[in-house]
Each structure stands twice: as structure tokens, then as C-alpha cells.
Amino acid sequence: MNRSRDGGPRDGERDDLSARGEELRNMFNRARAFTEELLRENERLRFRVAGVEREMEQASGKTPSSVPDSVAQLTERVRALERERDDLLARFRQVEAMNRSVAARYEDIETQNNHLANLYVASYQLHATLNFSEVLDTVREILINLIGAEGFAIFWVDDRTGQLKRELSQGMGASVPEKIRPGKGPLLDAVEGQSYYADPLPDPKGVDPALPLACIPLKIGTRVIGVVAIYHLLRQKERFEPLDFELFTLLAGHAATALFSSKLYQRSEKKLSELQGFLDLLTAPSPPGT
């Protein structure tokens, strides 16, 4: 080192020292700033570590207790949904059963409607006239169109002889005699007031007038005035149906009264016209000159 004569540093040396001091001071300041920066970073990292640790603690502390809770909730929800589904299925079955019941009831009502319509029309037509042959035609129409009979006969009971007198024969050609004495069998049963229906229906071939498929007494009260005998049905009609039995019951009562009253009316009309002619003859002025 260069020194002055009095043993102190010379001027050049002094400047050099001052520059180096300044340099050291700067270096120290930078070191201090760096240290401070390191300390701040350290602090920040410690906070971050603490945060992470806290999160980990929270996470590790939360999972074991919440999972069972979620499973329980989900299980309960599944059970509730299953209960709801069972309820809905039960209601669906109930509605289905109700639907079936309503459909069956509707069909029943339809059938009843049909029966009532047929019975109404039959009774209306039977009592729509006092002309005997027209009433007989109505009975024939009921037997053909409403019951589906193809071959049949209507007999009148002769009170004196007990024989059956044929009033009408349809689809039987000459096989039904004008008079029949009912022997033991359906015709005699009918004369005694009992209806007869063959069940099952026999072979349609070979019709015997004494053996009808159905035999209905025409009754006024307990008195049998006639008999309807059905021998064969239309080919599309395979058996008697419930409506047919209701129509037979109607025929037994209403056709009997309609036929009987129209016959009486016809007789009384005839008698009235005879009496009128007789009265006219009695009351007529005598021709002049007699």
C-alpha cells in the first residue's frame, strides 16, 4: 500500500479505499435486501405450507364421516323411490282393475240396452193393432227377426177337444198338420203351461212336429190359449241366447193377450156389424105399397 510521509495513506490510496468501502456498502445492502427477500419468501412458504397442512387436515378429517352420511341419504332416497314405485304400481293395477270392471259393466249395460230395445219393440208391435192377422204377423216377425227362428208354428188350443189347431206355420212346408193332439212331450208340457227348450240343440235334419226345439205356452194368467213351437233356427243362429229366453217370456204373456184380445175384437166387430145390419133392417121404413 502506498502511504504518505507522515505514515497516513496518500490521496490516491484514500480514494481507492473509499470506492471499495462504497462497493462493500452496496454489496451489504444488496445482501440485506436479498436476505429480507428470502425471509419474506420463507414466511410466504410457511403460510402456504400451513394452509396446505390445514387443508389436508380438513380433507383427511372430513372424508371418513361424510361418506357414510351420503350413502345413508342415497339409500334412504332409493327406498323412498322404491316405495313410490310400489305405490304407483299398486295404483296402476287398481286403475287397470277398475278399467276392466268398467269395460265389463259397459258391456253388460250394452247387452241390457239391446235386450230392452228388443223387448220394447216386440211389446210395442204386439199391442200396436187389434187386427188378429196383423198380430200374428208381428209374432212371426219377432220369431224370425229378433229370435232367428226359421221353421216354427203357432197353435191355438181348442178348449173342447184339447187339440192344437195350427194358426200359422212358417218355413215348415206341409210337415205341420192342421191339428195335433199333443202326446207326451214338449207340446203337452206347453199345453200344461211349461216352457221347453232343447239343450243342446239337436241335429237340424229331420224335423218332427211333435218334437220342437222350443215350445212356449201362450198364457193369459194361468190359462194356456196357444203354443209357439220352434222347429229350426236360421243357419247363422247356433244356439238360444239369454235375450231369446226373455223374448220367449214376453211372447208367453204379451203375444197371448194381443192375440186373444184381437181375436175377441174381431169377433165383436163381426157381431156388431151383424147386429147393425139387423137393426137397420128392423128400423128401415117399409117400401110404399106394402
Partner: protein
Amino acid sequence: MSATTFLIVEDSPTMRQLLAFSLRRLKDCRIIEAVDGVDALKKLTTEHVDLVITDINMPMMDGLKLISVIRSNARTKTLPIIIVTTEGAEEDRKRGLALGADAYIPKPIHPSELLKTIASLLEHARN
């Protein structure tokens, strides 16, 4: 919408009344009755008809002849026709349908079957 007009051609008053009774269950319907084919043709010339229900066996003019006449007339050739008859044989059915009937129902009738057939024919006619 105007009422649907039905022409019932049937010589039996009982059957006419039963058919009319069944048809009256339909909403907005008008019923015209004819006792045979000749009477039906007279009514067809003076009335608007939507559907004809006819028997086969009738005096004066039977149902088959009536169908032929209806089908040969330009004004009525597309008119829906239902045969309601006691003739239940397959050959009778084929004959009726071959002449131009749209449906063939043997007696005794079931009103529900008749009403179903009518509904189907009217639907077809409208389309």
C-alpha cells in the same frame, strides 16, 4: 255439422222400429224409412241420404235389385250400403257384396255390431 241421414229399407215394421231404435243412439241422426226397394228409390230421389240399411227379401223390389239400381246411378253410386238379412249363407253374403253392398249383417242383429259397421263406413266415406 249436419245430421247423418239413414235410410232403412225393410218390410217388417218390427225390424224397422228396432233398427231405428238402435240408430237413434247415434248423435245427430235422421232416419227415413221405406217398406221396399221401390219406396226406397222414391225417397232417394227426394232426400239426401248418407247411408242405406236394407233387407234382401221384400215385396215389389228386393234389396239386391235396389243395390244394383243405387250403384248404377251417378248420384248414389258411392252411397254406403249395409245389408241386414235373414239369409246367412256364405254365398248370399258374397252375392250381396259382389253387387256393391259395403257390409253384410245377418239377423238377428246385435246393435253394437251394426253401430260399429256404420261408424266404419261413414268414416271411410268421409275420407
